[in-house]
Protein backbone atom coordinates (compact mmCIF):
# COMPACT_ATOMS: atom_id res chain seq x y z
CA UNK A 1 0.00 0.00 0.00
CA UNK A 2 1.04 3.56 -0.53
CA UNK A 3 -0.24 6.38 1.62
CA UNK A 4 -0.24 9.80 0.04
CA UNK A 5 0.64 12.82 2.12
CA UNK A 6 -2.89 14.16 1.48
CA UNK A 7 -4.43 11.08 3.11
CA UNK A 8 -2.04 11.37 5.99
CA UNK A 9 -2.96 14.98 6.70
CA UNK A 10 -6.70 14.35 6.38
CA UNK A 11 -6.43 11.60 8.98
CA UNK A 12 -4.74 13.74 11.60
CA UNK A 13 -8.06 14.70 13.13
CA UNK A 14 -8.69 11.03 13.95
CA UNK A 15 -5.74 10.87 16.30
CA UNK A 16 -6.52 10.22 19.96
CA UNK A 17 -7.27 13.67 21.19
CA UNK A 18 -5.23 15.52 23.74
CA UNK A 19 -6.97 17.29 26.60
CA UNK A 20 -8.54 20.54 25.33
CA UNK A 21 -6.22 22.66 27.46
CA UNK A 22 -3.18 21.01 25.89
CA UNK A 23 -4.49 21.85 22.42
CA UNK A 24 -4.85 25.41 23.65
CA UNK A 25 -1.25 25.44 24.90
CA UNK A 26 -0.03 24.08 21.57
CA UNK A 27 -1.93 26.83 19.77
CA UNK A 28 -0.39 29.48 22.02
CA UNK A 29 3.22 28.80 21.04
CA UNK A 30 3.68 32.02 19.09
CA UNK A 31 1.05 34.08 20.91
CA UNK A 32 2.21 36.94 23.08
CA UNK A 33 -1.08 38.24 24.47
CA UNK A 34 -2.07 35.00 26.18
CA UNK A 35 -3.77 35.24 29.57
CA UNK A 36 -1.53 33.10 31.77
CA UNK A 37 -3.79 33.05 34.81
CA UNK A 38 -6.71 31.69 32.76
CA UNK A 39 -4.51 28.95 31.31
CA UNK A 40 -3.09 28.07 34.72
CA UNK A 41 -6.63 27.66 36.04
CA UNK A 42 -7.61 25.41 33.14
CA UNK A 43 -4.58 23.18 33.60
CA UNK A 44 -5.21 23.01 37.34
CA UNK A 45 -8.67 21.55 36.65
CA UNK A 46 -6.92 18.39 35.42
CA UNK A 47 -5.53 16.91 38.63
CA UNK A 48 -3.45 14.13 37.14
CA UNK A 49 -1.84 16.50 34.64
CA UNK A 50 -1.20 19.08 37.35
CA UNK A 51 0.46 16.57 39.67
CA UNK A 52 2.73 15.23 36.94
CA UNK A 53 3.67 18.73 35.76
CA UNK A 54 4.53 19.89 39.28
CA UNK A 55 6.66 16.83 39.99
CA UNK A 56 8.57 17.52 36.80
CA UNK A 57 8.88 21.24 37.60
CA UNK A 58 10.28 20.37 41.04
CA UNK A 59 12.71 17.73 39.77
CA UNK A 60 16.37 18.65 40.10
CA UNK A 61 16.69 19.14 36.34
CA UNK A 62 14.37 22.14 36.39
CA UNK A 63 13.83 23.83 39.69
CA UNK A 64 15.27 24.52 43.04
CA UNK A 65 12.36 26.45 44.47
CA UNK A 66 9.38 24.26 45.19
CA UNK A 67 6.20 25.07 43.27
CA UNK A 68 2.94 23.77 44.69
CA UNK A 69 0.60 25.23 42.06
CA UNK A 70 0.76 25.66 38.27
CA UNK A 71 0.57 29.43 38.80
CA UNK A 72 3.65 29.30 41.04
CA UNK A 73 5.54 27.14 38.55
CA UNK A 74 4.79 29.77 35.90
CA UNK A 75 6.10 32.50 38.20
CA UNK A 76 9.29 30.61 39.08
CA UNK A 77 10.10 28.92 35.78
CA UNK A 78 8.41 31.29 33.35
CA UNK A 79 5.50 30.63 31.04
CA UNK A 80 7.54 29.04 28.23
CA UNK A 81 9.24 26.45 30.45
CA UNK A 82 6.05 25.58 32.29
CA UNK A 83 4.11 25.19 29.07
CA UNK A 84 6.75 22.78 27.78
CA UNK A 85 6.58 20.77 30.99
CA UNK A 86 2.78 20.55 30.75
CA UNK A 87 3.11 19.35 27.17
CA UNK A 88 5.69 16.75 28.19
CA UNK A 89 3.44 15.52 31.01
CA UNK A 90 0.38 15.36 28.74
CA UNK A 91 2.07 13.86 25.68
CA UNK A 92 3.74 10.95 27.44
CA UNK A 93 0.35 9.74 28.62
CA UNK A 94 -1.37 9.84 25.26
CA UNK A 95 -1.58 7.59 22.20
CA UNK A 96 -2.48 4.24 23.71
CA UNK A 97 -1.83 1.53 21.14
CA UNK A 98 -2.65 -2.14 21.20
CA UNK A 99 -3.53 -2.94 17.61
CA UNK A 100 0.14 -2.94 16.68
CA UNK A 101 1.79 -5.62 18.84
CA UNK A 102 5.30 -4.99 17.51
CA UNK A 103 5.26 -1.35 18.66
CA UNK A 104 6.78 -0.96 22.11
CA UNK A 105 5.37 2.35 23.36
CA UNK A 106 7.38 2.18 26.60
CA UNK A 107 10.64 1.93 24.65
CA UNK A 108 9.42 4.70 22.35
CA UNK A 109 8.84 7.12 25.23
CA UNK A 110 12.03 6.11 27.01
CA UNK A 111 13.98 6.95 23.87
CA UNK A 112 12.06 10.22 23.47
CA UNK A 113 12.73 11.25 27.07
CA UNK A 114 16.43 10.33 26.74
CA UNK A 115 16.66 12.41 23.56
CA UNK A 116 14.89 15.31 25.29
CA UNK A 117 17.25 15.14 28.29
CA UNK A 118 20.35 15.01 26.07
CA UNK A 119 19.07 17.81 23.80
CA UNK A 120 18.56 19.98 26.87
CA UNK A 121 22.09 19.32 28.14
CA UNK A 122 23.59 19.96 24.69
CA UNK A 123 21.56 23.17 24.33
CA UNK A 124 23.04 24.48 27.57
CA UNK A 125 26.57 23.86 26.28
CA UNK A 126 25.71 25.53 22.96
CA UNK A 127 23.88 28.46 24.61
CA UNK A 128 20.73 27.48 22.74
CA UNK A 129 17.20 27.70 24.22
CA UNK A 130 17.01 24.68 26.55
CA UNK A 131 13.21 24.48 26.69
CA UNK A 132 12.86 24.44 22.93
CA UNK A 133 15.58 21.76 22.67
CA UNK A 134 13.87 19.65 25.37
CA UNK A 135 10.49 19.79 23.63
CA UNK A 136 11.96 19.11 20.18
CA UNK A 137 13.86 16.12 21.59
CA UNK A 138 10.74 14.77 23.24
CA UNK A 139 8.61 15.13 20.12
CA UNK A 140 11.15 14.35 17.38
CA UNK A 141 9.74 10.86 16.78
CA UNK A 142 6.08 11.88 17.01
CA UNK A 143 5.54 10.83 13.38
CA UNK A 144 5.95 7.20 14.45
CA UNK A 145 2.95 7.65 16.75
CA UNK A 146 0.97 9.13 13.88
CA UNK A 147 1.71 6.11 11.70
CA UNK A 148 1.14 3.52 14.43
CA UNK A 149 -2.18 5.13 15.41
CA UNK A 150 -3.49 5.68 11.89
CA UNK A 151 -2.23 2.44 10.30
CA UNK A 152 -1.61 -0.06 13.13
CA UNK A 153 -1.71 -3.26 11.06
CA UNK A 154 0.49 -1.88 8.30
CA UNK A 155 2.90 -0.41 10.83
CA UNK A 156 3.15 -3.81 12.44
CA UNK A 157 4.35 -5.10 9.07
CA UNK A 158 6.90 -2.26 8.93
CA UNK A 159 8.30 -3.15 12.35
CA UNK A 160 8.46 -6.89 11.66
CA UNK A 161 10.13 -6.24 8.31
CA UNK A 162 12.64 -3.86 9.87
CA UNK A 163 13.52 -6.45 12.46
CA UNK A 164 13.92 -9.19 9.85
CA UNK A 165 16.24 -7.07 7.71
CA UNK A 166 17.86 -5.37 10.75
CA UNK A 167 17.78 -2.30 8.54
CA UNK A 168 16.87 1.34 8.60
CA UNK A 169 13.38 2.22 9.90
CA UNK A 170 12.85 5.10 7.46
CA UNK A 171 13.68 2.91 4.44
CA UNK A 172 11.28 0.21 5.64
CA UNK A 173 8.51 2.75 6.27
CA UNK A 174 8.97 4.10 2.77
CA UNK A 175 8.99 0.62 1.23
CA UNK A 176 5.87 -0.62 3.04
CA UNK A 177 3.77 2.54 3.52
CA UNK A 178 5.11 4.95 0.93
CA UNK A 179 5.57 7.60 3.64
CA UNK A 180 7.95 7.81 6.57
CA UNK A 181 7.68 9.16 10.10
CA UNK A 182 9.59 12.34 9.20
CA UNK A 183 6.81 13.37 6.82
CA UNK A 184 4.12 12.26 9.28
CA UNK A 185 5.78 14.14 12.13
CA UNK A 186 6.18 17.29 10.08
CA UNK A 187 2.51 17.11 9.04
CA UNK A 188 1.40 16.77 12.67
CA UNK A 189 3.71 19.58 13.80
CA UNK A 190 2.16 21.83 11.20
CA UNK A 191 -1.36 20.72 12.10
CA UNK A 192 -0.65 21.51 15.75
CA UNK A 193 0.79 24.88 14.75
CA UNK A 194 4.25 24.28 16.17
CA UNK A 195 6.77 27.03 15.44
CA UNK A 196 8.69 26.83 12.16
CA UNK A 197 11.94 25.91 13.98
CA UNK A 198 10.22 23.01 15.71
CA UNK A 199 8.65 21.79 12.46
CA UNK A 200 12.06 21.89 10.73
CA UNK A 201 13.70 19.97 13.57
CA UNK A 202 11.07 17.21 13.41
CA UNK A 203 11.27 17.04 9.60
CA UNK A 204 15.08 17.09 9.34
CA UNK A 205 16.46 15.52 12.52
CA UNK A 206 17.63 12.58 10.41
CA UNK A 207 19.40 14.79 7.88
CA UNK A 208 20.56 17.88 9.77
CA UNK A 209 23.02 18.84 7.03
CA UNK A 210 20.06 19.64 4.71
CA UNK A 211 20.25 23.36 3.81
CA UNK A 212 17.77 25.28 5.95
CA UNK A 213 17.28 22.45 8.49
CA UNK A 214 18.32 24.76 11.33
CA UNK A 215 20.55 24.30 14.36
CA UNK A 216 17.75 22.70 16.41
CA UNK A 217 17.74 19.79 13.92
CA UNK A 218 21.49 19.38 14.57
CA UNK A 219 20.98 19.24 18.33
CA UNK A 220 18.12 16.74 18.06
CA UNK A 221 20.05 14.60 15.56
CA UNK A 222 23.04 14.20 17.85
CA UNK A 223 20.88 13.85 20.99
CA UNK A 224 18.95 11.03 19.33
CA UNK A 225 22.18 9.23 18.38
CA UNK A 226 23.48 9.62 21.95
CA UNK A 227 20.20 8.28 23.39
CA UNK A 228 20.57 5.17 21.21
CA UNK A 229 24.29 4.79 21.99
CA UNK A 230 23.66 5.06 25.75
CA UNK A 231 21.15 2.23 25.30
CA UNK A 232 18.45 4.05 27.28
CA UNK A 233 15.33 2.78 25.47
CA UNK A 234 15.79 -0.66 26.98
CA UNK A 235 15.36 -2.38 23.61
CA UNK A 236 17.41 -5.57 23.12
CA UNK A 237 17.54 -4.88 19.35
CA UNK A 238 18.76 -1.32 19.84
CA UNK A 239 20.61 0.07 16.84
CA UNK A 240 22.63 3.29 16.70
CA UNK A 241 21.56 5.30 13.62
CA UNK A 242 23.97 7.09 11.33
CA UNK A 243 25.72 10.08 12.88
CA UNK A 244 26.17 13.15 10.68
CA UNK A 245 29.77 14.34 10.75
CA UNK A 246 28.51 17.80 9.81
CA UNK A 247 26.26 17.90 12.91
CA UNK A 248 28.98 16.41 15.14
CA UNK A 249 31.48 19.03 13.96
CA UNK A 250 28.94 21.84 14.40
CA UNK A 251 28.69 21.02 18.12
CA UNK A 252 32.50 20.96 18.38
CA UNK A 253 32.66 19.49 21.89
CA UNK A 254 35.86 17.91 23.25
CA UNK A 255 35.78 14.41 24.75
CA UNK A 256 35.76 15.47 28.40
CA UNK A 257 32.64 17.55 27.74
CA UNK A 258 30.97 14.59 26.00
CA UNK A 259 31.56 12.33 29.01
CA UNK A 260 29.95 15.02 31.10
CA UNK A 261 27.00 15.23 28.69
CA UNK A 262 26.51 11.43 28.88
CA UNK A 263 26.51 11.49 32.66
CA UNK A 264 24.08 14.35 32.95
CA UNK A 265 21.79 12.87 30.28
CA UNK A 266 21.58 9.60 32.23
CA UNK A 267 20.88 11.38 35.52
CA UNK A 268 18.11 13.56 34.08
CA UNK A 269 16.73 10.59 32.15
CA UNK A 270 16.38 8.49 35.31
CA UNK A 271 14.59 11.23 37.17
CA UNK A 272 12.28 12.17 34.30
CA UNK A 273 11.26 8.63 33.39
CA UNK A 274 10.40 8.01 37.05
CA UNK A 275 7.98 10.95 36.82
CA UNK A 276 6.68 10.71 33.27
CA UNK A 277 6.33 6.94 32.96
CA UNK A 278 4.79 6.45 36.40
Amino acid sequence: MTITSEELIQGLDDLPSLPAVVMELLGSIDQEDIDISVLAKKVSADQALTAKTLRLANSSAFGLVKATTIQQAMTYLGFQSTRNLILAAAMTGCFPSGRCPSFDDKAFWRLSIATAACARVLARHMRFNQDVAFTAGLLHGIGRLVLVTRYPEQYDTVLRERKRLDGDLLDTEQAVLGVDHLLAGAALAEHWQFSGTMQQAIAFYHAPETPGAGFLATIVHVANAVAHALDLAGDADELVPSVSSVAWTALGLPEEVWLHVFRETELQFEEMTAILMA
Binding site: S60, E256, L259, R263
Partner: protein, 109 residues
Protein backbone atom coordinates in the same frame (compact mmCIF):
# COMPACT_ATOMS: atom_id res chain seq x y z
CA UNK B 1 24.87 11.86 62.46
CA UNK B 2 24.12 8.37 61.22
CA UNK B 3 26.32 6.24 59.00
CA UNK B 4 24.24 6.53 55.87
CA UNK B 5 25.02 10.15 55.13
CA UNK B 6 27.77 12.73 55.34
CA UNK B 7 27.81 16.54 55.41
CA UNK B 8 29.58 17.62 52.23
CA UNK B 9 30.80 21.23 51.70
CA UNK B 10 29.13 22.89 48.71
CA UNK B 11 32.50 23.33 47.00
CA UNK B 12 32.98 19.55 46.99
CA UNK B 13 29.53 18.62 45.65
CA UNK B 14 29.31 16.78 42.36
CA UNK B 15 26.37 16.26 40.00
CA UNK B 16 24.70 12.94 40.77
CA UNK B 17 25.03 13.14 44.54
CA UNK B 18 21.77 12.44 46.38
CA UNK B 19 20.41 14.48 49.28
CA UNK B 20 19.83 12.34 52.36
CA UNK B 21 17.53 14.90 53.99
CA UNK B 22 15.43 17.86 52.94
CA UNK B 23 17.24 21.14 52.72
CA UNK B 24 15.72 24.32 54.24
CA UNK B 25 16.66 27.95 53.71
CA UNK B 26 16.94 30.55 56.50
CA UNK B 27 13.18 31.09 56.47
CA UNK B 28 12.45 27.40 56.92
CA UNK B 29 11.25 26.96 53.35
CA UNK B 30 12.15 23.72 51.56
CA UNK B 31 14.87 24.35 48.96
CA UNK B 32 15.39 20.76 47.93
CA UNK B 33 13.50 17.61 48.79
CA UNK B 34 15.01 14.56 50.41
CA UNK B 35 16.31 12.20 47.70
CA UNK B 36 16.87 14.99 45.16
CA UNK B 37 19.67 14.29 42.71
CA UNK B 38 22.06 17.23 42.48
CA UNK B 39 22.82 18.72 39.07
CA UNK B 40 25.28 21.44 38.09
CA UNK B 41 22.40 23.92 38.15
CA UNK B 42 21.26 23.00 41.65
CA UNK B 43 24.81 23.15 43.00
CA UNK B 44 25.22 26.62 41.52
CA UNK B 45 21.93 27.65 43.14
CA UNK B 46 23.06 26.35 46.52
CA UNK B 47 26.12 28.56 46.23
CA UNK B 48 23.88 31.52 45.38
CA UNK B 49 21.84 30.77 48.51
CA UNK B 50 25.08 30.87 50.54
CA UNK B 51 24.60 27.35 51.83
CA UNK B 52 27.83 25.91 53.19
CA UNK B 53 27.29 22.17 53.40
CA UNK B 54 24.52 19.70 52.66
CA UNK B 55 23.74 16.14 53.82
CA UNK B 56 24.57 13.69 51.05
CA UNK B 57 23.64 10.02 51.04
CA UNK B 58 26.56 7.60 51.08
CA UNK B 59 26.63 5.35 48.05
CA UNK B 60 27.20 1.64 48.22
CA UNK B 61 30.61 0.28 47.36
CA UNK B 62 31.58 0.93 43.77
CA UNK B 63 31.72 -2.06 41.42
CA UNK B 64 34.10 -2.00 38.47
CA UNK B 65 32.37 -2.28 35.08
CA UNK B 66 32.57 -5.55 33.19
CA UNK B 67 34.73 -4.60 30.21
CA UNK B 68 33.88 -7.64 28.12
CA UNK B 69 30.13 -7.13 28.52
CA UNK B 70 30.37 -3.40 27.77
CA UNK B 71 32.36 -3.95 24.58
CA UNK B 72 30.07 -6.76 23.42
CA UNK B 73 26.97 -4.62 23.89
CA UNK B 74 28.56 -1.67 22.08
CA UNK B 75 29.52 -3.99 19.21
CA UNK B 76 25.85 -4.94 18.99
CA UNK B 77 24.56 -1.34 19.20
CA UNK B 78 26.95 -0.17 16.48
CA UNK B 79 26.58 -3.32 14.31
CA UNK B 80 25.40 -1.35 11.27
CA UNK B 81 28.41 0.95 11.33
CA UNK B 82 31.62 0.20 9.51
CA UNK B 83 34.11 1.58 11.97
CA UNK B 84 36.95 1.25 9.43
CA UNK B 85 35.08 3.56 7.05
CA UNK B 86 36.51 7.06 7.28
CA UNK B 87 33.17 8.58 6.27
CA UNK B 88 31.60 7.19 9.42
CA UNK B 89 34.07 8.89 11.76
CA UNK B 90 31.42 10.67 13.86
CA UNK B 91 29.82 7.33 14.81
CA UNK B 92 33.29 5.96 15.52
CA UNK B 93 34.03 8.83 17.91
CA UNK B 94 30.64 8.47 19.60
CA UNK B 95 31.33 4.81 20.17
CA UNK B 96 34.80 5.45 21.56
CA UNK B 97 33.51 8.12 23.94
CA UNK B 98 30.63 5.94 25.18
CA UNK B 99 33.12 3.11 25.74
CA UNK B 100 35.42 5.43 27.73
CA UNK B 101 32.39 6.59 29.68
CA UNK B 102 31.10 3.09 30.46
CA UNK B 103 34.56 1.83 31.44
CA UNK B 104 35.18 4.98 33.51
CA UNK B 105 38.47 5.69 31.78
CA UNK B 106 40.30 8.83 32.76
CA UNK B 107 40.26 11.33 29.92
CA UNK B 108 42.89 14.06 29.76
CA UNK B 109 41.32 17.49 29.14
Amino acid sequence: MSDDHAMVPVTQLEPGMVLSDELLDNNGLVLLAKGAVLSEATIASLQRHHIEAVPVARVEAHRAPDEQAVVARLDHLFRQHDLDDDHDWAAKLLRRYVEDYRLERQVAP
